[in-house]
């Protein structure tokens, strides 16, 4: 027994005790092959997955090294069966290779002939493989590259992709770190630099960073690395505009070089920003805007908020395997459980950092999470008790009792910019009237939205009530307090995104506050617990306070 910091579990999770003196060294050793699953305060959980092990193989780590570091840091004897399993899993990678043959183009080549025979017979690969060139080689149509890789992964024989990436149409892009148009000089943060390097070394993949940690800059730096025409896919038009602003400010790109491809405008320029929505819009059952992918010889495709990638885009992405792809996200938790598809089509996770680590480095604001429990009135309880099952969450989440609590919370931070976030339009209107604050919702026009956001940014408007549209990619630099009143049931990633609204570092380094107001003893509390799970796993401990303490005459300090 070495007394190391790591405990290897037989279900292939690794428990890392972070207070142990060797914890940091151990984290460095296991990070290449194990996926960080949870990082609460004392014990971080990593998981060994076939995908993670194969990625490690792809990055040049061998099974012997993995087994060695497991044994070296493990506190207890590691089961023989698990070691054998790790070695066998890693051995499966690379028995098949996707390569460019000078004569036949893209081919699937086998280092182990029996594996090729096995996969060639599989029904899942029907139609993806072309003619058999010799005993060890089968031709592959270039358009099937992504689907084939995906299918081989599912069969458990991941192919090593040696076919490389196309360079795309060259276009000069530089980071303007000296400051542009009189701006202040700046530099990439260390973790942003590491993320870009990890991505570029791997070719394609996903970078996971907390909201407010500057994912846009990672994208910009990747573009500067690629120096090629780039297609950027974003969730909505506002987010697209923001990307454009950021790119103009931080890179050598000018306004003329960046095009917007949205419902309003259809520009195709060396750098084009398109929304998921316009790409997935259909006319008579056909996707009309797919030509965009082929409109230019893109050298890089950037997917913003990749955890929201709609299913049709998955299919298109399968055709883009020869182009470099960068996915950006704060949480890879997908409520539809399709994380595996993101990995196989965009690429594996190339960079990930625990939120608390970045917070301790001062790159995101330290946040105080508070759950405020509201006791419903008897009348509300009675109507909740008799409501239909599907109505219950709405009843509990939109209880009127929450209004004074929200007002009290807003008043508690008189000098801060406050966002009030909700999921139900009726409730938002109530809140708007009650707090006398403007509302941004789905039906608000882009023009009006930008006006309100500008006003909020300038401090003209102190409190803003927003609906789900504000979940993603709106840049509200000085929001320091967010109050959540209702949401999309138990969505963990929504909670993380909403917290992200206040994580952007404050000029004076003060603390951010995230409040979630829930109705006690209702399904609202259960959903809240579920929503908080991801953040709790990231080490954010929620403090629970009673609404009466908030409303009461003496306000206790919550710091």
């Amino acid at each position: 027994m070495s007394g190391g910091p790591l405990i290897v579990q037989s279900d292939k999770t690794l428990l890392l005790e972070i207070d142990h003196p060797d914890a940091q060294a151990c984290r460095m050793a296991i990070a290449p092959f194990a996926e960080l699953e949870r990082s609460p305060e004392h014990v971080h959980t990593y998981r060994l997955t076939p995908l993670g092990l194969w990625n490690a193989r792809a990055a040049g780590h061998d099974a012997e090294g993995v087994v060695d570091s497991l044994i070296k840091y493990s506190r207890y004897p590691v089961p023989h069966g698990l070691l054998v399993d790790v070695a066998e899993t890693m051995d499966r990678y690379g028995r098949l290779q996707l390569a460019n043959d000078p004569a036949h183009g893209l081919v699937l080549r086998a280092l182990d002939r029996l594996v090729l025979i096995e996969v060639a017979k599989s029904k899942k690969l029907a139609g993806m493989l072309g003619a058999k060139l010799d005993d060890d080689t089968i031709a592959v149509h270039p358009s099937e590259r992504g689907r084939l890789k995906q299918a081989l992964l599912k069969l458990g024989w991941p192919a090593e992709d040696l076919a490389g990436y196309v360079d795309g149409e060259a276009h000069s892009i530089e980071l303007a770190e000296d400051g542009k148009d009189g701006g202040k000089p700046w530099t990439l943060r260390s973790y942003q630099r590491e993320a870009v390097e990890a991505f570029w070394a791997g070719g394609s993949g996903v970078v996971v960073l907390p909201c407010g940690a500057g994912k846009t800059l990672v994208g910009a730096a990747a573009m500067a690395e690629a120096k090629a025409t780039t297609l950027i896919l974003v969730t909505n038009t506002v987010a697209g505009r923001q990307w454009k602003r950021e790119l103009i400010a931080r890179t050598s790109l000018t306004e003329e070089e960046i095009g917007e491809y949205s419902g309003e405008r259809k520009e195709i320029r060396p750098v084009t920003i398109a929304t998921y929505q316009v790409l997935t819009s259909r006319k008579k059952g056909a996707f009309t805007h797919l030509d965009l992918f082929g409109a230019r010889d893109w050298g890089l495709v950037v997917y913003d908020e990749v955890h929201l990638l709609p299913a049709p885009i998955f299919r298109f992405t399968a055709d883009l395997q020869a182009r470099r792809r960068l996915g950006l996200t704060a949480t890879l938790v997908r409520e539809d459980g399709r994380e595996g598809d993101v990995f196989s089509l965009i690429g594996p996770k190339r960079y990930d950092a625990p939120w608390k680590d970045i917070e301790s480095q001062g790159w995101i604001a330290p946040a105080q999470c508070t759950e405020v429990r509201v006791t419903l009135t008897d009348a509300e309880r009675m109507s909740y008790a008799t409501a239909e099952a599907e109505e219950r969450y709405r009843m509990a989440a939109t209880a009127r009792t929450k209004l004074p609590v929200v007002k009290a919370l807003v008043n508690r931070h008189p000098d801060e910019q406050v966002l009030v976030i909700g999921g139900y339009i009726d409730q938002l209107h109530q809140l708007g009237e009650y707090l006398d604050a403007p509302i941004v919702q789905g039906s608000t026009t882009n023009k009006e939205r930008e006006r309100l956001f500008d006003a909020f940014r300038s401090g003209e408007v102190r409190t803003l009530v927003i609906s789900k549209v504000g979940n993603f990619s709106i840049d509200l630099p000085e929001a320091a307090v967010a109050i959540q009143v209702s949401g999309t049931f138990g969505s963990r990633q929504e909670e993380a995104q909403r917290l992200g609204r206040v994580l952007r570092p404050k000029a004076d380094g003060r603390q951010a506050h995230f409040y979630t107001v829930v109705s006690r003893d209702t399904i609202d509390t259960e959903y809240a617990a579920h929503r908080q799970r991801f953040l709790a796993e990231q080490g954010y401990a929620y403090t629970i306070v009673d609404a009466d303490d908030v409303l009461g005459p003496k306000l206790p300090t919550v710091d």
Partner: protein, 825 residues
Amino acid sequence: MTTSLADHLRSLPDESLAALLQLRPDLVVPVPADVSALATRAQSRVSVARALDALDQFTLLMLDAARLTRDAAEQTTSTDAVLAMATAGPHPPAPTTVRAAVNRLRALFVLYGPESALRVVAGVDEVSPYPAGLGRPAAELDARAAALCADPAKLRRTLLAAPPSARAILDRLAAGPPVGSVPAGALQAPALGAEDDLPPDPTNGGVPTGSPVRWLVDHHLLVPVSGGRAGVTGTVELPREVGLLLRRDSGPLGPLRSSPPPVATAPREPKAADSAGAGQTMEVVRHTEALLEQLAAEPAPVLRSGGLGVRDLRRLARAVGVDEPAAALLLEVAYAGGLIGEVDLSGATTTRHGADQQVLPTAGYEVWRAGTLAQRWEQLARAWLTMTRQAGLVGQRDDRDRPITVLSAEAERAGGPAARRAVLEVLADLEPATGPTPEEVLALLDWRAPRRSRGRETAHREVLAEAATLGVTGLGALTSYGRLLLADVTAADEHGDDPLGLRSDAESGEASTAVRALDALLPAPVDHFLVQADLTVVVPGPPDPALAAELEVVAEHESAGGASVHRVTPASVRRGLDAGYSADDLHALFRRRSRTPVPQGLTYLVDDVARKHGGLRVGSAGGYVRSDDEALLTEVLADRRLEPLALRRLAPTVLSTPYQVGRMLLALRDAGYAPVPEDASGAAVLARPKTRRAPARVPVTTRTLDPLTTPKLAMPRLLGVVEQIRRGDAAARAARRAPAVVRGGVGRTGPAPVPSHSDALAVLQQAVRDRALVWVGYVDAHGATASRLVRPVSIGAGYLRAEDDRTEMLHTFALHRITAAVLED
């Protein structure tokens, strides 16, 4: 005829005879009546086969050398002749090793007589017909082949002329065994004129050779032994002289190896192997416990044909998270270790399978569970080492193509313990922490006891896999504690003269050395955990039993292994409250056990659930009284005459009682109230007296049979009885006519000529074919000689099955007990 084995044995001192009996214990079961009987037994095929089974490859080859060097007339050979043949090859073994091998054979009395005139006992030739993989001498096979072999120069020329494809066949047969089967018609000459139609032979430069076997037979290099003509599959044999000539490069006995084959794998660090094995032992114990818990939660029915159904095995395996072979192994081991057993069900058809037995954990399981990890593992590993089961058979199909199920009789293999012992001893003899490949282990086994390991390669591979699964081996090497356990079990076995179990470790209550060695490798139990904000509870090591019991109640299990992860959920807190913890108890529990501050979220969770806990109350009552008139109910409640009803007020308008409605009605009516019973929907129930009747039955007059009349016997039945008596009579008369040879009575007639055991076998085989009556003399279980007139039915698997016409019974005789057989004339 020179001295027979019997004479030789008779001349030995007592100690030497005792030594022989110790080496070949099967000779004394049953105890032979005299030395002649002992000699007969020692030469019998079965006994010789047993003696040879334990010998290594080199010694067996030396025996073959002795057989090959026998001189034709005297049938004797000498140590020198054996030595000469053994050292004829290119890599001659040291003469001392050869002599040692010969002495081993002499000690076993497989070879006997003085060194200059060694004789081979008769049974050897029956046991293995082809010494050193060489065929019979040409003279015994075919005159023309003999003529060819008599002329070495011509033989050499013929060999060199053989086409490549034919030469390949020769080389294969020369390596042994020297007989091969040929397809039907291969030896037939092609039709006249069809010679040109033969396909070109690529191995012969495109020149058609026809069938290479036919070429060899035509040139007398191979001799057809049987069949080979149209429609019959035949066999051909390579004459000994040709085989020896072909082996001129490797020596007459083929490649010789006087020491076990070396292992290429270098030893690892002993700690690595031990550590991997120890990790695996934790897994095995945990999986076994999970499996048995699962079995306790949902017992598996025993199939009519024995064993557990495939579906149950799959369910158990899935629930525990192991694959089916591993689950089957653990179940078998748990059964062998007495941790699970069958229970009879009272109602025979209560389960959906209609089975009347279930498999459940036994009381022994509770004892096992209380032990330490190492003790629990030892119990499992010991059970595995000694169980006569082959778990690897589960899932395969038996002779009747039915799947073999776990715990069924079909997976019983008496050779199991010996096979495991053999494999592990191979590993134990290597340097510590050497992890040879399965192939190397099989090669070693093949060298150590070729006769025993041949055909058991699959079983041996399974043993290796099972040993790895159970953590007896780690990284392919025998672990230090596994070595101790093996030594312990072997020692216990050798103390076979301890029938009362006086030296048993289990009785003394002291941990065995293996347990102590394993204990040192396993993590020590911990009594604390870490609680985190995401409501997970991490126990950083194996929990001590008290902590495990607490966690089992208040948290859901999430991940197991060296440590364990649990999650506190509303449901688990509720379970804790149901189990009698109060909210304060739970807070105290988390505070006491946690090394880290208890997060606020957990405190709130416990309080929230506790607040709602018990908000609804459920109970049972025998009946109730309700009334809209609260005053009336108060009067009933206060009525002293109704005190025996133990009425309790549930609500202003409802009283409840533990007694049944009928009794309550009577009591209320007696007390002068006018209650009306109501049913579940609240409607009034009317009562009317019911007339009672006995159940319907058949009138007595329909039964006419008088039980006292004597039964009538029909004529055919009587004739049958007479015939039976007559037949018995004839057989009894015949029994008096048993020939002297068979009657044997060794004690009475003095040293009778000992007939060869193989003669008896020949007679019996003929009798089976002819369905003839035979007198069989045999030694019964008490060592007495008896004889019986029977009609043999079949011979096989070491047993003769025969009918006794007199008693019309089928008898089974062990062949090695049969001393003589004579045809009835």
